[in-house]
Symmetry: C2
Subunit: 253 residues, 2 copies
Amino acid sequence: VTDVQVVGLTGIPEITARSDLAAEIVQALRRQALQPDAADVLVVAQKVVSKAEGRSVDLRTVSPGAEALELAAAVAKDPRLVQVILSESRRVIRRAPGTLIVETRHGFICANAGVDHSNVDAPHHVLRLPLDPDASARRLREALRLALDVAPAVVISDSHGRAWRLGSVGVAIGAAGLEPLLDLRGRADRHGRPLVVSTAGRVDEIAAAAGLVMGEAAEGIPCALVRGVEWTPASPGAGAVGIQRPEERNLFR
Amino acid sequence: VTDVQVVGLTGIPEITARSDLAAEIVQALRRQALQPDAADVLVVAQKVVSKAEGRSVDLRTVSPGAEALELAAAVAKDPRLVQVILSESRRVIRRAPGTLIVETRHGFICANAGVDHSNVDAPHHVLRLPLDPDASARRLREALRLALDVAPAVVISDSHGRAWRLGSVGVAIGAAGLEPLLDLRGRADRHGRPLVVSTAGRVDEIAAAAGLVMGEAAEGIPCALVRGVEWTPASPGAGAVGIQRPEERNLFR
């Protein structure tokens, strides 16, 4: 593999809970005369998946509990927002004024449990991550298969901060059709010695590459078709949630 | 920006301390009829940069000190290798059998200070990271400017494990010509509200995308030309080392 292409899909309208996201993606592909094949990966921003799944919450309907009130004071955030974040979380990893890092119910370590109020049309609404992003990716893939007669792999991406690096980078929070890791074990280096780096975080590399075209701003491009990447078909049950490091293998914490 | 291309450079021979890395890259570009322009980014694997800079060490010449001997026993590694790792490090972040996570002298948090014995031709040799990878990137960029009359931006990439995710992903350890972060502050979402994710880790997104074509294995492609990406010209002193989170801003530790 020597040539990878990342093509942003343009002209996708505002997505709401009444949208047919797969149909909008298919229309965008057709407008750009793109015919995905089974080797392609379609990357879809978490925001449009969450919107299509009706994952927005009206903060005016949220009553913060005692833990949310205490934590909101500590981090200087809206107690109703903190309540939504806590409802999406297993535990709080780190709190500081303006910052709340949690482990989400899926197992992702990220700021605010991925709850976001940019790109939501109603001012009092915030958007939660999909309940099961791997299942969301599988459903999208099946809808694309029906519409296109071929199923590209699907990755649902979000932008996460990193522990030791400034700047956000795309990561996969959901995946269907492809194995999230690319196993390089058994491959030899130029000198016949086994590789030290033996597992590539392939879905995350794909999500990061898609981030190069998927702007967060007004011109927002919520999807990208990634072509020419080497990946392995998914084994049963494989998904992006499964590549969170199990606690006992977390060597950085 | 809706279309990004990542083109792997093929046929680059084994690089040694006697190689002219820039000349080999220029030849590979010409063989593939690629004419970089000033908007392109050339990503170069750390390994070939380190080799060209003579950063290999013969372990038979290394005498491990007391700290290396003690640590080597704790992590079950060669004490001479541990001595090389310690010499490259400011401090040890985490130790476990088979694993040694350190902060390098540059400030990178990574396994084994990036010291690696795959893809080194001599069996007793290990390869250290460049002394100053941002300076390496600047030198390469100047050499390319001389040879090509135009200077693409240059990123030196390595594969790092992540704190909470399995699988390695490309990150930038050196950069020249481009600002490492893409500042999205001031940009509005579709609804005119400021973006929550306000800074993209652009060099790391580029390094991760290049990782999709730059295999670590025998077919090794040590460089990739990345085209069509939005980035900002570097401000004075900008580089990949500077986007390590300062200790006081590290919200995950």
